[in-house]
């Protein structure tokens, strides 16, 4: 049977069928052993603080004095808070525009770098370097050198007669410059794609070549399906990460979310309310709203994955 046909019969990651009728949970013991560290960590370090933050979201906690229960006040105030809606809008824009751009670029470059290219390790390192810098304190300076009103980009544009705006200081372009910063640091998902591409056995491609398959067919029938668990992983986690994006906006805007709140990301606003305005109750409420939103996106992702993600198990 042809290799392609074999691949085509890979089980999709849908509900388990095909022969398993009775659930026996035969691995409970083994699972306890393997999961022990995670369970301890969950209970001792994660669950407690999470539950506390949930409780705090119904209080007026200001970090210094004892919290008082105030019911759903924080949530009703949130609904009427223009800056809250603005931060949600900014973050959604960032997620919807930035994530596909970054992942698309990461995949494209990973594919370009995967095949026996001369100097491959060099290119891989170079494309990954920006991610190393991405959250360092120096990046704000560097970004301003590039995108400031008299920065490099505008100097280059001036050479062709275009007067560029203040990319990071004009409220209409500031978010764009942060999205660009995000795309610039595509190294992380790129590495993951590379690792995933490496796991696809070369023999599939060779066999397909013998079958006479062209590049597009190889991509669609071999690469995409076999890479789909990794694509799915990157998609889920980049979306979660993008919703929580904080460091880059904080560094480039100096913590203000400026200019004019145009880069006031959700978690940046949350941080400002919590630590800056000592309104930790409100900040906790925001955090749980975010969790619900992100949870919804993730659940949709998982549901949709049944239709396009192929697992070999």
């Amino acid at each position: 049977m042809s290799v392609l046909a074999e691949l085509g019969s890979l089980k999709k990651s849908g509900p388990k069928g095909q022969g398993r009728v009775k659930r026996t949970f035969r691995d409970n013991r083994a699972a306890m052993v393997f999961l022990a560290p995670w369970i301890v960590g969950l209970v001792a370090i994660t669950v407690g603080p999470m539950l506390i933050s949930l409780y705090l979201s119904f209080t007026d906690y200001n970090l210094i004095q004892d919290p008082n229960f105030i019911g759903a006040d924080n949530f009703t105030r949130m609904m009427q808070d223009d800056r809250f809606w603005n931060s949600l809008r900014v973050t959604l824009t960032y997620v919807i525009v930035g994530v596909p751009l970054q992942l698309g670029l990461a995949l494209a470059v990973a594919m370009a770098l995967d095949k026996g290219l001369k100097g491959l390790p060099f290119y891989r390192s170079v494309f990954y370097l920006p991610s190393l810098l991405g959250s360092s304190v120096a990046v704000a300076i560097l970004w301003k050198q590039m995108f400031g009103t008299s920065g490099l980009v505008n100097q280059l544009l001036a050479m062709v007669g275009i007067t560029g705006p203040g990319w990071i200081s004009d409220p209409s372009t500031a978010l764009g410059s942060i999205i660009l910063l995000h795309v610039w640091t595509f190294g992380s998902p790129m590495i993951i794609f590379l690792a995933g591409l490496r796991q696809i056995p070369a023999m599939y491609y060779e066999a397909a070549a013998v079958d006479g398959a062209g590049r597009a067919t190889r991509f669609l029938k071999i690469t995409l399906p076999l890479l789909s668990p990794i694509i799915f992983f990157n998609l889920v986690l980049q979306i979660i990460g993008a919703f929580q994006s904080f460091t880059q906006a904080f560094i480039v805007s100096g913590g203000t979310g400026g200019p004019s709140d145009s880069t006031m990301f959700f978690t940046l606003y949350l941080y400002q309310r919590g630590f800056g305005q000592f309104d930790m109750g409100y900040a906790s409420a925001m955090a749980w709203v975010l969790l619900v939103i992100v949870g919804a996106f993730t659940a949709i992702n998982f549901y949709a994955s049944k239709f396009w993600v192929f697992y070999d198990d």
């Binding site: 042809s2 392609l4 949970f25 691995d27 083994a30 699972a31 393997f34 999961l35 560290p37 960590g41 969950l42 370090i45 994660t46 407690g48 933050s53 970090l63 095949k115 001369k118 390790p121 390192s125 170079v126 494309f127 990954y128 370097l129 920006p130 190393l132 810098l133 959250s135 360092s136 990046v139 050198q145 490099l152 590495i191 690792a195 490496r198 796991q199 696809i200 056995p201 491609y205 060779e206 066999a207 070549a209 013998v210 079958d211 799915f232 986690l237 979660i240 904080f246 460091t247 919590g274 930790m280 900040a283 749980w288 975010l290 969790l291 992100v294 949870g295 993730t298 070999d312 198990d313």
Partner: protein, 315 residues
């Protein structure tokens, strides 16, 4: 479209083909060929490809090059003379920066190295174990626990840091590295659990079955079958943990109070004072020094990314 069975193809494929690409050059090779002569057209394409890549590379790392260049300028000139060209290299920034803070900068590098080492080992051990359970084992409550694992990624750190800090301060771990390392041994970086799960699910179960037939239990399957085959995932985990821990400012800021236990990101911020003068040259110099270990870790680690599944059979 059928073809002969797989074994015949592999024996006939060129042995030293560097990758799938080479085997598919039409017009100048056959499935049996052991070498090829690139046509002028292909060589031009290759040159073009390299040209594009190199240009892209320069654009990508221009900011970094600027920072390196600035580290060799006197601090006063850093913002007066934009651009990359250096008339002369001033190395005093490196000496100044190294000694500017309470301890020589090497102390902070060492502290960061300790924290990173702990974090990497912790993640590798605990996350791979948890991932094996989620990917290969069948147990009660699996769906809920998997969902719980994902939920832990979704809550922003700023709201859990205060309760966590209170917890750690009650057990006296503040101003030590414990709050930064111990959670890693408890698989709190669910990102890597999920990553490894996806990788493990790409490994065919037939290999597990084969090992079980040979009499192996789960521990042996985990150690001898799964772990070796998920080297790219382990390498990725190592690289990312290294880099993220090396540059994690917020947690390290909150938990470390005395300067002798400061780590690199906290130390770097010490150079910058919003209200009076900052020694930019020294700061850039130390930033470059801080980047070196990460970069080296990446160079070394990516070799393991290259190792993939060479065969699909273990017989």
């Amino acid at each position: 479209m059928t073809t002969e069975s797989a074994p015949r193809v592999t024996t006939d494929a060129p042995r030293n083909a560097p990758g799938p690409d080479q085997a598919h050059r039409k017009g100048s090779t056959t499935a049996r060929g052991t070498g090829y002569a690139p046509s002028p057209r292909q060589r031009a394409k290759s040159v073009l490809k390299h040209a594009v890549l190199i240009t892209a590379a320069i654009i990508m790392i221009y900011p970094l090059l600027w920072m390196i260049a600035s580290s060799f300028r006197p601090s006063a000139d850093v913002f007066r003379a934009p651009g990359l060209w250096l008339t002369e290299a001033h190395t005093e920034n490196y000496a100044t920066g190294w000694n500017a803070l309470t301890s020589p900068f090497g102390t902070y590098l060492l502290n960061s190295a300790l924290v990173v080492l702990g974090a990497v080992i912790g993640n590798l051990v605990s996350c791979s174990m948890a991932a094996y359970a989620f990917a290969r084992l069948d147990f009660r409550g699996k769906k809920w626990m998997f969902a719980a694992m994902l939920v832990t990624i979704m809550l922003p750190i700023h709201v859990v840091i205060v309760p966590q800090y209170i917890l750690f301060s009650q057990i006296g771990w503040v101003n030590t590295f414990a709050p930064l390392i111990v959670p890693k041994f408890l698989a709190t970086d669910a990102f890597f659990i999920f990553l490894m799960v996806q990788f493990i699910r790409g490994i065919p179960r037939e290999l597990d079955e084969a090992a079980r037939i040979d009499g192996a239990g789960h521990p042996r399957i985990f150690l001898q079958v799964i772990l070796p085959l998920m080297t790219p995932a382990l390498a990725t985990t190592t690289i990312f943990t290294f880099i993220w821990t090396w540059s994690d400012f917020f947690s390290q800021l909150i938990y470390l109070t005395s300067p002798d236990v400061f780590t690199v990101p906290v130390a770097l911020r010490s150079f910058v004072d919003a209200q009076s003068s900052t020694d930019w040259g020294a700061m850039f110099a130390m930033s470059v020094v801080s980047l070196l270990p990460v970069f080296i870790a990446f160079l070394v680690g990516q070799k393991f990314l290259v190792k993939g599944i060479a065969t699909t059979g273990i017989k």
